[in-house]
């Protein structure tokens, strides 16, 4: 499945956040993942209302990034992988 600019990514069925601060993880059937850095920044913004385009723009701002194409590509790779694991829908 391909992620598009106007997709509104969100956590898939049965996947949710739990814990707080540095103990914040995503729990899902048979697992849990703790994310850091840009991975965390991307997934936190996948709330089903923001478009992928909006998420990338926010990250570019937050990270004061010059290379928005790289952020976009990294985020696509990351989210498509999570979608294949059925953690994310878009």
């Amino acid at each position: 499945m391909a992620l598009e600019n106007l997709s509104r990514p969100k956590l898939a069925a049965g996947c949710r956040w739990t814990g707080d601060g540095e103990n914040r993880v995503v729990v899902f059937p048979e697992g849990a993942i703790r994310l850091q850095g840009t991975a965390l920044a991307v997934l936190e913004r996948c709330d089903g209302t923001r478009t992928f385009d909006e998420i990338v723009q926010e990250l570019v701002t937050v990270y004061n990034a010059s290379d928005s194409a790289k952020i976009r590509q990294d985020a696509i790779t990351f989210l498509e992988r999570l979608q294949q694991k059925r953690l994310v829908d878009f």
């Binding site: 069925a13 899902f28 059937p29 294949q84």
Partner: protein, 340 residues
């Protein structure tokens, strides 16, 4: 089987969940037996959810009415796993010993109408691997998020039926191809999790993620165990949640400490590069097959006792590939007797 009155009561289970959440547990799996047999199940799910735990219901689905399902959903259940014995009604009922199959299909449809995570669990073995593609197609039609293809493991009652259950090498290799093709076809739609059965693998599984590393099992009477089979290991005193805190049992009790670390490992495990990945395999399996719970899991190709597994495999590969057996074969399976 356990008499109902010696099982933990509702408040005792709630205390377990509260302690579990406090020591950092993320997931609780409500399993059995059959968890639907407990009338307070919805209340327990609700309480566990309130503690912040991710709740998983592992069930045959038998007895799950629409009303009960709606209540469980409203209580905050996160995930349900429904197991299937076969795609064919006769086969499924033959193995389970009941008329469960048709009822399960209706229950799966009911589950799918809701928004929870839904896993279909297919139990595979020698008697149904020849039509694995059909079982996968059935699972696919139920539209779960996840499909787990679980080779039977030879503990408990399966150990008494191992000759009828252990597949041939051809069956295993063909099943790996079938699964790989299904994973590609269903990529992004259904996540398929499957592992090569350990008898046919080169190295053992990291059983339970390691003894006392990732998971703790509390049985209906409150006994705390590192896994389902651990009671087979002699010389271990398992604690009860009625008497000790979960935290103490997990961190300090002799039974949970027994196979942690590396000091207990014999060679070749002690010097093996894989010891931090597979922890020497399964202690219960080592005990059951070699008589020594500290031995290298015999499924490991490096285990001194590996010949015992090879004997079992030679037998499985010398018998003719089974066709679906007629149901009138009363002695084919050894069943657990009904409790009195």
């Amino acid at each position: 089987m356990v008499a109902a009155k010696s099982e933990l009561g509702t408040h005792e289970w709630e205390a377990v969940f509260q302690q579990a959440a406090k020591i950092g547990t993320l997931h609780v799996h409500l399993s059995g037996g059959e968890p639907l047999a407990r009338e307070d199940l919805t209340q327990l799910v609700s309480f566990a959810h309130g503690c912040g735990l991710y709740t998983n219901l592992i069930t045959s689905g038998i007895g799950l009415s629409q009303q009960r399902w709606d209540e469980l959903v409203a209580a905050g259940l996160d995930h349900i796993q429904l197991s299937f014995q076969d795609s064919r009604e006769a086969g499924a009922n033959w193995i389970a010993g009941t008329r469960a199959h048709a009822v399960k299909l209706g229950i799966a449809a009911m589950i799918r109408r809701s928004k929870l995570a839904f896993t279909v669990n297919l139990v595979v073995h020698r008697q149904n691997l020849d039509h694995l593609d059909e079982m996968i197609a059935l699972a696919e039609s139920l539209q779960p998020e996840r499909l787990e293809i679980a080779h039977v493991q030879y503990y408990g009652w399966a150990a008494k039926n191992v000759e009828a259950l252990l597949p041939s090498r051809t069956q295993v290799l063909e099943s790996m191809e079938t699964i790989s093709a299904a994973q590609k076809r269903l990529l992004g739609k259904i996540r398929i999790d499957a592992v090569v059965p350990d008898y046919y693998a080169k190295y053992p599984k990291a059983c339970m993620g390691g003894w006392g590393r990732r998971q703790m099992l509390i049985d209906p009477k409150g006994t705390a165990l590192p896994c389902h089979a651990a009671a087979v290991i002699p010389g271990l005193n398992f604690e009860n949640v009625r008497n000790q805190s979960l935290e103490w049992i997990w961190r300090e009790s002799a039974s949970f400490q027994k196979f942690r670390g590396e000091d207990w490992m014999p060679e070749p495990c002690r010097s093996c590069d894989r010891r931090t990945q597979d922890f020497g395999g399964c202690r219960c399996q080592a005990l059951m097959i070699t008589g020594d719970a500290t031995a290298t899991d015999p499924v490991c190709s490096l285990a001194p006792s590996h010949a015992l597994i090879e004997e079992q495999l030679a037998l499985a590969n010398s018998m003719a590939n089974p066709e679906t057996q007629a149901t009138e074969q009363p002695d084919f399976w050894t069943y657990r007797p009904q409790p009195k």
